[in-house]
Assembly symmetry: C2
Homo-oligomer: 305 residues x 2
């Protein structure tokens, strides 16, 4: 069993979807992914919060055995995002964005945290991702997430940090922006030549596609009767994914495939509640039940040709 | 091993896609689906062609052991469709449509054909689908395809014939039109209450979803490096699907799942050539190879929670 180090935003979100709303719900990429990873392995979370950050939220993270020593408290406000979704829940509309203390986020990795073998760099500025990597001592497996914003405005920096990552998690729009390839399969192969030997393309309700060296794998998304808030689905996916690998302490084709499925399973809970509420309430028993249903849904029987 | 009876259009298509074009390529729903079904079981094809229908095309069908006794030859022209696809290959644009002899198509099922147990009603006018069903003697398993046109203009007729079918094949737009449900899962369950106990939702590049009584299954589409012409993919899928079941001579959860995979595998060939060319050239050896690749791609390993 290895540890996971996760770097990213910690935020309060104002959320509105066709199914309801929530004000100042605990969110942020590091929060979603740390909660997800903690289902499988010990987590060290790296982030920054303001003096409005609630003790109850910090306690909740600690209860999940997430080490928050490297979540620094600064004078000012915690990152705040306000947004809404219309019927197309794939598209988030931003109403308000207040970076607060996150604007001066400059992660310092100290002590034992520097030797954590599994590292997840959530979608922050690529220069910050690089700063983190430079402080780590021979990480075993580095997973990088990014977003269209960083591809558009900081591509040279992103290309540098991509060279130092083992796996990149992108969506179909991001892979097109990054590689210029319109075709997903070609885009994934182009991205594999830019650094990460392994690429995951998140396809939302259509699941996640994993591109290894010379092979491809698809794990369909869990079919859901209802989705109330898609915020954090991708972060949850990535967190559960790296947590699963860290628990095994190694990486191979079979484990990567299993980890993608674990990512889909855990993410299916996140979207059924507002903010981090349902992922925080998730436990192994519930997850096991959904995993059994999932296997009936997605297991491919042998076909007689 | 049972026989399959397939009723639908036989056509010549003028096709244009970003990858090339073909003039008067052999097509039509009955043609695609019969060729696909013939990979697994004996097929009786029901349709109509004009006096421009080439002997070489009829010979090709016969070489595939497709019984064409009920493909009638009428004075006039064979159904002609001319269309093109732009970059979004999911959307066909019609340039010209000449129904020809198909306008007076009135299928007569005679002799032994009336007792064929597996029946595929391709997407023709629901009154014609009903005419066929009324001539059949206790069919064991009836699969129905339809299209937005028939849902929009002949819904009452369609609802009647749906009551007499075992399985309906639809896409996500059609299921919304038919049931008024925006959510796929809810739409499928609503459709199951309208007659067919089993529903397949074709999701194009995202595969096919199978809804049985109380269970759901997804077979991802075969990942393809290139697609040159999507025409006939759905018909090929349905044909291979029912052919697979007919070969087994029975229907159960496991066989239905396998048949959906067979449908996806065979359809993946159709879209890699213009018209029926690649499906006509397909053989078991090629299909077996793709099936092995598919299992590496889509087999879901057990996840340790």
């Amino acid at each position: 069993m290895s540890e996971v180090l996760i770097v990213g935003s910690v935020a309060y979100d104002g959320l509105k979807t066709p199914y309801g709303s929530a004000e100042r719900a605990l969110g942020g990429a590091a929060t979603y992914s740390s909660l997800a990873a903690s289902l499988f392995a010990p987590v060290r979370m790296v982030g920054v919060v303001g003096d409005d950050f609630k003790k109850a939220d910090l306690d909740m993270l600690k209860r999940h055995k997430i080490n928050t020593d490297l979540v620094t408290h600064e004078k000012g406000k915690t990152f705040y995002w306000k947004g809404y979704y219309e019927n197309d829940m794939a598209l988030a509309h931003t109403v308000k964005l207040d970076l607060g203390v996150f604007e001066r986020f400059n992660p310092h990795i100290t002590g034992k945290a520097r030797t954590v073998p599994f590292v997840f760099l959530a979608a922050i500025h690529p220069d910050l991702q690089m700063t983190v990597l430079k402080q780590m001592v021979k990480p075993k497996f580095v997973v990088l997430d990014t977003r269209d914003l960083w591809i558009n405005i900081t591509k040279p920096s992103l290309l540098k940090v991509l060279k130092k990552t083992d796996l990149a998690v992108v969506n179909d729009q991001e892979i097109r922006l990054l590689t210029g390839e319109m075709h997903l399969m070609k885009g994934a192969r182009a991205l594999q030549k830019m650094g990460p030997k392994i690429v995951i393309v998140k396809k939302g309700e259509h699941g996640a596609m994993l591109f290894g060296p010379g092979w491809t794998f698809l794990s369909p998304a869990v079919p859901l009767d209802y989705v109330v808030d898609p915020t954090g689905a991708g972060d949850t996916f990535a967190g559960a994914f790296i947590g699963y690998l860290a628990r095994a302490g190694k990486v191979n084709e079979q484990l990567l495939k299993q980890a993608v499925i674990a990512g889909n399973l855990v993410a299916s809970y996140t979207v059924q509640g507002f903010g981090t509420k349902s992922i925080a309430a998730l436990n192994k028993a519930k997850l096991k039940k959904r995993s059994v249903d999932y296997h009936r849904f997605a297991s491919i029987p042998k076909v007689k040709i």
